[in-house]
Amino acid sequence: MTDELVKPRVSAPLTERGARVEVGAGARLWRRVWPPLMAVVIVLALWQVVVTVGWRPIYVLPAPAAVGGALSEMLVDPKFWSALGTTLARAFIGFGISVLIGSIIGLAVSRSRILRSAIGSLITGLQTMPSIAWFPFAILLFGLTEQAITFVIVLGAAPSIANGVVSGIDDVSPQLQRVAHVLGARGMRMYRYVMIPAALPSYLAGLKQGWAFAWRSLMAGELLVIIAARPSLGANLQFNREFANAPGLLAIMIVILVIGVMVDSVFTRIANGVRTRRGMGVVRL
């Protein structure tokens, strides 16, 4: 009788209640990979629909399968790899010089009031200038040479990088600077140990944007500045158009897109890592 009045509540054993489904590495990877994969599938499907409908003749707008074929053919062609090598070397050199110049100018502008009022707004102005507008002048200055391309890449990318430095340093919390001052940080040591590390997230954002500008400028440059006997992705693009090879053209475009996205995602990953370590970033609510 009593055992009917007082019933102990039986709760499920902890192992059952708190059992967490262990997520394997494969499942985690899948969770990250499926959304972009889905997007690609949708784009390919739409593309196929447009081709099937016959909006444009097939020799102008080939089907995804034809482009896929051209792409896989291209990827085993050593000439493609040497063209890719040329383009990547240009990107590497151009972006490297941009980082160097952009960082130095950014630091100088953030430190000096005179420099800031002199060229601060000029930097932002340069950022809005389409880099392709520089090419006629660059070709006049340097001829159809590597320097012409590098010149325009640097003009396109360095302002973004400089701006990243300047806004990063402008945004360092005044309170943090006061703390550092009391701890004895002055002049160069304040910059080295406090201002520059604090500005890092903004600097990385500047690098990321600078890379986007550099890559765009480079492609514009390779279309305009075609150097004999130096095949590059941009030059190949132009040749494919001249020979009306639409699948080959689109295959190169895919390569250009993929490289741009890959480099960008490296920057994004670094920036996210930095933000997470500092406890910054979007909170899921």
Binding site: S173, V179, H181, V182, L183, Y193, V274, R277
Partner: protein
């Protein structure tokens, strides 16, 4: 014997004070619309004294601390710390978010010119002082508010300062954490023979911690009264004598006449 004695204002003639503030004046703002944050403030702080400064917001207490710490320049008057090293803590811990707990203390040691091979032991010792050795490799955002404030304290002590300025350092902490911080601060003050200037708007905190309390008046900021707290240590916030002293300080704070105009 009373727990709180009104003392003669400003013992300027006292031999060799650790901090000597004379006629300190600070005016903010442009010509024509100046605000006087501090007006002719003179205070002397004795060696190893625990001085609390209480006052309403706008009475210039933080400004005075900033001037002692060389973060602001006075409009008039002077502050003399006799070349002693000054450390300062703020209401917010302001740890460097890109560094770990260890890294924050390491940087403070580096900026004080401590050689690399000595720093490892010093970090360990400082973390033990604030009882945080177990979070050495954590990042600031992973710590609670009280822990962050203790790291900030360790970072300040890393400079080997003789004078410790504290600007409402525990105002944002919960009561239990704050009590623990009071004990740690008091212990470290004794162990390291520090001279402490502690700014707060909490009269009870002042009565709990101080040897002497300076009550400041606003508009313009100036010294209202000075009192010695004679309650023997160790004290607690719950001590009725602390409460009583706090009530007296509270009256001093609130019976202040407003300026004529």
């Amino acid at each position: 014997m009373s727990i709180l004695k009104l003392s003669e204002p400003s013992l300027v003639a006292q031999p060799g004070p650790t901090i000597r503030i004379t006629g300190l004046t600070k005016v903010f703002g442009r010509r024509g619309q100046e605000t006087t944050a501090l007006s002719e403030v003179s205070i002397s702080v004795k060696e190893q004294e625990f001085l609390c400064i209480v006052g309403r917001s706008g009475c210039g207490k933080s400004t005075m601390l900033n001037i002692i710490a060389d973060l602001e320049t006075p409009t008039g008057g002077s502050v003399d710390v006799g070349g002693r090293k000054v450390g300062m803590m703020f209401q917010d811990a302001n740890l460097f978010p890109w560094l770990t707990v260890e890294g924050n203390i390491d940087l403070a040691l580096k900026l004080s010119g401590v050689a690399a091979e000595l720093r490892k032991d010093r970090i360990q010792e400082l973390l033990e002082t604030v009882q945080l050795a177990h979070v050495a490799t954590k990042r600031p955002h992973e710590l609670s508010g009280g822990m962050r404030q203790r790291v900030a304290l360790a970072r300040t002590l890393a400079q080997d300062c003789e004078i410790l300025l504290m600007d409402e350092p525990f105002a944002a902490l919960d009561a239990i954490t704050r009590d623990a911080m009071h004990e740690q601060t008091e212990r470290i003050w004794g162990e390291r023979a520090l001279t402490v200037v502690f700014v707060t708007h909490n009269v009870r905190e002042a009565a709990r911690l101080a040897d002497r309390v300076v009550v400041m008046k606003p508009n313009p900021g100036r010294v209202g009264s000075e009192s010695l707290i004679t309650i023997p240590r160790p004290r607690t916030m719950e001590d009725p004598r602390v409460a009583e002293a706090a009530a007296l300080l509270h009256d001093m704070l609130h019976t202040q006449e407003m300026p004529d105009d």
